[in-house]
Symmetry: C2
Subunit: 292 residues, 2 copies
Amino acid sequence: LSELSHRSIGIFDSGIGGLTVFREISKILPREDLVYLGDTARVPYGTKSAATVTRYAIQNVRFLLKEDVKLIVVACNTASAFAVEALQKEFSIPILGVIEPGVAGALRIGGAASPDTPKPPSGSFELAKPDSHSRQLKICVIGTEGTIASEAYTKALHRRDPSVRVSGVACPLFVPLVEEGWWENEITQQIARHYLNETLDRGLDAMILGCTHYPLLKSTLRKVVGERVALVDSAEETARETALLLDKRGLLRESSARPTHRFFVTDSPERFQRVGSMLLGETLLNVRHVEI
Amino acid sequence: LSELSHRSIGIFDSGIGGLTVFREISKILPREDLVYLGDTARVPYGTKSAATVTRYAIQNVRFLLKEDVKLIVVACNTASAFAVEALQKEFSIPILGVIEPGVAGALRIGGAASPDTPKPPSGSFELAKPDSHSRQLKICVIGTEGTIASEAYTKALHRRDPSVRVSGVACPLFVPLVEEGWWENEITQQIARHYLNETLDRGLDAMILGCTHYPLLKSTLRKVVGERVALVDSAEETARETALLLDKRGLLRESSARPTHRFFVTDSPERFQRVGSMLLGETLLNVRHVEI
């Protein structure tokens, strides 16, 4: 067991959305102390350039390091897409983005969920289909303009499996819709259809929810994509990956003392508390303003 | 004529939306040199606190002062709501927000446009209605969360006319809808109805478009509010006010040399150029990145 295991897990996001990652981590690692930084004074990152987002991400990590963390999770997809490599070069602490876990999840879940090739009708002379491993998997990534334009998911998927067919759809209205609380609203469903119809028409095995806000739209997206498409929740996958990584490095907290959850925001705490409590379904306490 | 008249007009906004103000100023003052700063690295201001927005606004003014300006227009409604007074205290240069011109416009246009009191049916014993000046004007302000929560428009309206009935509706989805290019889309119309139906049911004389993006939704809003409600465009009103103020102070540029239009953005110019060109309906040239 490492002497660092008593330290907190640091999580940062551009704002409120990363609370979906926070929630999954707190579920799967209920003993861990968590410290969350939401860069609400500069949110969103999704429409901003790689250079700007990387600059902000470095400042966020510097702040979390002062809070004595043992590992940092980049909950924001855009920051993961643009900045994780730069962060890993700059800092020695383990830093985990949401892209790689999401990609691993899509290949696992999407591959498993994809319907078996239907048997040819008896009497047919078709050759037997190749086994399911060589069947071309169709994965769609949805996210912010920045995440999709970066093609970070596409590149990461192709590094693991060059045969996968990947499409990307930017859904810029989803974040404001979630923050408005319109998770299962009729209008939200129409907007989702508008964004996704074309992709769905081409057939799909899995859809990666490539933005921290999107897990809250899961039931609406389920209606739009139908039952046969696997929805891959990066937040869940990242929490699982965080647990595995801590375990492997002997960094899991052993204490049975009640863990602390602390929140820092770069804008005033009011809106974060209000919208964040709605997102988490519980009142957010312990939110402090900080300038970084 | 002041020796400062050769200087530029400075305009700043949280991002792209202020280009609607820029456009109106360039129409009404075609001889003026204009310098526009869009704080795209920190956009939007509409969900951020007064303290944070004021801090950003002060930095924006400092930047524009180095560009040798003679007057500064705060194109952003949220910054106007939160920061104009602080800016006017901090700096000696004339600084104009969009709230006061919008309010003056609403009282002028809304008052003029409000339908005459219908004549009572003959044979009725009702007393004659008081003259139109004492009729209570109903004005609705639409804007970002920050602008509406600040009640800046309500206060400014009541300073001029305490009898006006003012309602405010935050329409957080309008900015992303405009930036998505969905100006006259069926979904946008539904969302507008969702936000505004209740207010419209109570009756309305004028609606102030209290966010720089909203003039682009004018034709959709016209369908939603009907023909009898005056739509007050803060951008137009502010441009008119800018011209009056320059004239009064002898600051109008006299040169017949072709004016220059320069744009600075705090994030990379790419998205600003792309979305901004769509908003203005012409290609934006001369956009430079700057860190402030």
